[in-house]
């Protein structure tokens, strides 16, 4: 009975959080809110707060073991952030799988989750998208990740934090930020289809599915164009000019994809959270699904 009450309270908090998340226009520094992109100074100042949880989404576990930010837990992007039962490789975890992960990591619905990695925020952006898919209200990416953190001579630790499982309750999926193949097919030629892969994959010269090529009409913006050589996001004005040149404007619906939806999440984060575009979706199946299905049209 008591447990049920707490569960309901948590659920209530989630709903309140989700509503607050959609209505407020990301005021940096407002009480209880975190900006979507934080710098090392912000993280250093908030590291000790009990409701701030750091999550290391580095490329390999070895990177985490070698040294990570104080209190950070590790999430394996290849094992923890996918649905292993899905027929398409690399799809987002189900609500149950996601809830189990958050519970295992000891993350509560009210916590602010700060994500970082060693790969120019590639995996952090994928984790960000998944947290938003299940409507977690307070999420941010540490700009520049562990690389910039170290460049600023900030400390790392090899201590693994002791974590007690939480009672996290995952909200239903936010279908407004995800696209399916059927959704895309019905809208081909309408909005913008943004291809976050390399120019070689875009041209069908580097083939990673049964078929090589791109979704008809797709525009190529390699995710690596979002970042500077040191791995931080480029200034917003520069990103806005880049995407505008390629026809991405805020009045259009934009669907991003790549091979498995990881690199696409990076472009999605830029469009939705740095540029503030309202209608941006990540096609989670991406080329892993599109290129392996023979009933879908492609362009080369």
């Amino acid at each position: 009975m008591h447990r049920l009450l707490i569960g309901n309270l948590v659920l209530f908090a989630v709903i309140v959080g989700a509503v607050a998340g959609t209505s407020a226009a990301a005021p940096a520094g407002a009480p209880g809110r975190v900006p979507s992109l934080v710098d090392p100074g912000w993280v250093a100042a908030n590291l000790a707060a009990p409701d701030v949880r750091l999550v290391d989404v580095s490329s390999t576990r070895d990177t985490y073991v070698a040294g990570h930010l104080q209190g950070a837990v590790y999430v394996d992007w290849q094992a923890d952030l996918v649905d292993p039962t899905h027929r398409v490789k690399g799809m987002a975890p189900t609500r149950e799988q996601f809830q189990a992960l958050m519970r295992r990591l000891g993350i509560r619905n009210t916590d602010a989750v700060i994500l970082y990695d060693d790969t120019s925020s590639l995996f952090a952006a994928r984790a960000f998208w998944i947290l938003k898919l299940y409507r977690h209200p307070r999420v941010a990416i540490l700009d520049g990740g562990s690389r910039r953190w170290q460049l600023e001579a900030r400390p790392l630790t090899t201590e693994t934090p002791a974590v007690s499982p939480s009672r996290y309750a995952a909200a239903p999926r936010d279908d407004s930020i995800v696209a399916t193949a059927e959704y895309l097919v019905a809208r081909l030629g309408e909005g913008v289809v943004c291809d976050a892969r390399s120019p070689q994959e875009y041209a069908g010269l580097d083939v990673r599915s049964a078929r090589g090529g791109r979704i008809p009409g797709a525009v190529n913006i390699d995710w690596r164009l979002n970042v500077t050589p040191d791995g931080s996001f480029k200034p917003v004005a520069e990103l806005r000019a880049l995407y505008a040149r390629a026809g991405h404007t805020r009045d259009r619906e934009i669907i991003v994809y790549c091979q498995t939806g990881v690199r696409a999440a990076h472009n999605w984060f830029v469009l939705k959270y740095l540029l503030g575009y309202p209608r941006v979706r990540n096609y989670d199946g991406s080329w892993e699904e599109w290129g392996n299905r023979t009933d879908l049209p492609l362009q080369r």
Binding site: S198, Y202, L205, L242
Partner: protein
Amino acid sequence: MSPVVGSTTIRHPLARLLGVGGAVLVVSAVVARLTAQADARAATFWLFGLAFGFVLQRSRFCFASAFRDLFLFGHGRTMRGILGGLAVATAGFAVLMQRMVPDPGLGVIAPEAHVAPLGAHLILGGLLFGVGMVIAGGCVSGSLYRIGEGYVASLVALIGIMAGLALGAHTWNFWWRASIRGGLVLWLPRVGGYGMALVVTFLLLVGAYLLVIWWEVRQGFRAPEPVPGRPGHTFGDRIHGALRAVLVHGWPASVGGVALGVLNVFVYTAHMPWGVTGEVSRWAVGLLTLVGWDPGLLQGAGEVSGCALVGRGGSLLSHTLTLNLGMVAGAFAGAQMAGEFRLRRPRERRRYLQALAGGVLMGYGATLAMGCTLGAFFSAIPSLGANGWVFAAALAAGAWLGVQVLRRIP
């Protein structure tokens, strides 16, 4: 030179083709087996290496002599072949690059295209390389294919090149900070689209071709009449004649140049344009590390495209290794089929010193220019980068200087 020894020409070229071809197949199978785990591209690039080496050997395609002969003998036979190859590769590269980067104004340069920063480093690199290749009597690719033909001095030149690259690695960070990092990266399609870039490049190639013809006329060079082939009648005569034309007689430089241009488009389609120096620098840095003279972190070398220095790391059995070794093997196979292979030591000891010194100059020049006559020239002009033309001009000036030096060597 390498006269065709009488006894070896008696054997039917078909017999040689089968013998050498069979050996090449066996070795290729071994290479494919050895490298399968380390690098999936290695076997393909071994075949590319064989093809490049074979064409270089059959057509005696030497970039060093292309520049040198203009000034030393007043003819541009090989240079005209190079220009033909550049024209073919330019068209092919443009098609490929346009598919990968349809909008060059977006700020992306086509992946793997050899577009490098301009600056003093590029001009100095071209000058040093030009002098070095004339003194050594062959550039990096020339040395590789002559090793396959049995030239001992070319092996010495390669050692010199590695020494020059090693010196380059130890001074790279200085050049990176002083000139390379701040250099303008000028990719012609970004300025005015692919159409304009193609027009400019073809105009420059035609201009260079006319300049070569004008120079030859001024120097009194007369193009030799083509030797008429023995007309064959029977099926056997025709096959024999065709085999002799391909396997025994040397190819005209124009055929070699165009074949290399076509191969360069193929190899870029497979992965990246033709280049050899990056891999040779990997050997040099690897050896340095073995003897405890590690050059340390090479700042920015990973960011520039083309054949910039490659530091430690990566599997030894890479596709760049098989490309280079394939070139030696392809030249060896070509020489064997023509009956031209034999171990050749220079008559004078001084030639070794020349090869070594020229090699060092080339190695250091290739460090600064981020490539040799292949990476910074033969693959850079078709990449529609301005750096290819700047390097070519410096290379020509360096070759002229080298000829002056050669004339003073008794």
